[in-house]
């Protein structure tokens, strides 16, 4: 799990399988950013290959925290398996979804986004 600075807000990059073993650290990372005053967060799941209900629970919780702070939790995801999980649980419309990081330049924040390798 890595974190990079984006003009629109902090971007957290998670790869591999996001399950019970990873969900707690993901939640801690995102909540640390919220506690630091960021209300809009970006989670890059482009290289994530698996997402279970424990990880989904984290996303739902953090999304609510972002909304209470006046922001949003954006997901960057293209993996069909993860999109399927979001659709099954009715959460595909609950998050702003993006197909790539450059797409963020077209969001309401409007700031230029830098690609990080």
């Amino acid at each position: 799990m890595t974190q990079v600075s984006e003009d629109n807000g902090p971007l957290v990059v998670v790869d591999g399988e996001i399950d019970l073993a990873v969900a707690p650290s993901l939640r801690e990372r995102l909540e640390t950013l919220l506690a630091a005053g960021h209300s809009t967060l970006y989670l890059d799941l482009l290289d994530a290959t698996f997402l279970d209900s424990t990880a989904l629970g984290v996303l739902v919780t953090v999304r609510e925290q972002c909304q209470r702070a006046g922001g949003a939790l954006h997901l960057i995801v293209t993996e069909p398996r993860i999109l399927k999980v979001l659709e099954i649980t009715g959460l595909a419309t609950a998050f702003p979804l993006h197909g790539s990081r450059p797409d963020l330049a077209g969001t309401d924040q409007g700031d230029e986004t830098t690609r990080h390798e």
Binding site: D19, L20, A21, F50, D52, S53, L56, V85, I88, T89
Partner: protein, 150 residues
């Protein structure tokens, strides 16, 4: 991982069911073993890639439904495939620090994300349920191969 047994080998359900038993300490970092085994069993049952991925997620949801995964104890999984149908049963043996299987029943069996788990299992498998077996909670699922003749 304590044990990985394979018995009654029989590909694609032409004869007796194939049974694989897997037991491992109830630790979050070992849940991947359940997914790995599910993928192997699904492949042996003739599932396609999509069905195998469904099975991997479904067995993950079975295991994480036990609070024991976070509290200690031992997870026992029994995978059976027969004629294009995979059945997975999951029970937990409480550890010294855990207590979730004693007197647990009904909705208490499910963890904090139980509703999401239920939604996923409903969509991913043909049948799933939970029951008490020999005084211990058991969660199970059953998934048929799409082109299974049975």
């Amino acid at each position: 991982m304590k044990r990985l047994d394979m018995s009654d080998r029989d590909d694609r359900g032409g004869g007796r069911p194939e049974v694989i038993a897997l037991s491992f300490p109830a630790r979050a970092d070992l849940v991947a073993l359940a997914r790995f085994t599910a993928a192997s069993v699904g492949a042996r049952a003739g599932f396609d890639v999509e069905e195998i991925e469904d099975l991997r997620l479904a067995v993950d949801e079975l295991v994480v439904s036990f609070e024991a995964v976070q509290a200690g104890g031992t997870i026992h999984l029994r995978y059976t495939h027969d004629a294009g149908t995979v059945t997975i049963e999951c029970t937990v043996e409480p550890g010294l620090r855990s207590h979730p299987s004693e007197g647990i029943a009904g909705g208490e069996l499910w963890g904090g994300d139980g509703e999401l788990s239920r939604q996923l299992l409903d969509a991913l498998v043909d049948e799933h349920g939970r029951e008490q077996r020999q005084g211990r909670p058991c969660v199970w699922l059953r998934k048929h191969r799409a082109n299974a003749s049975a």
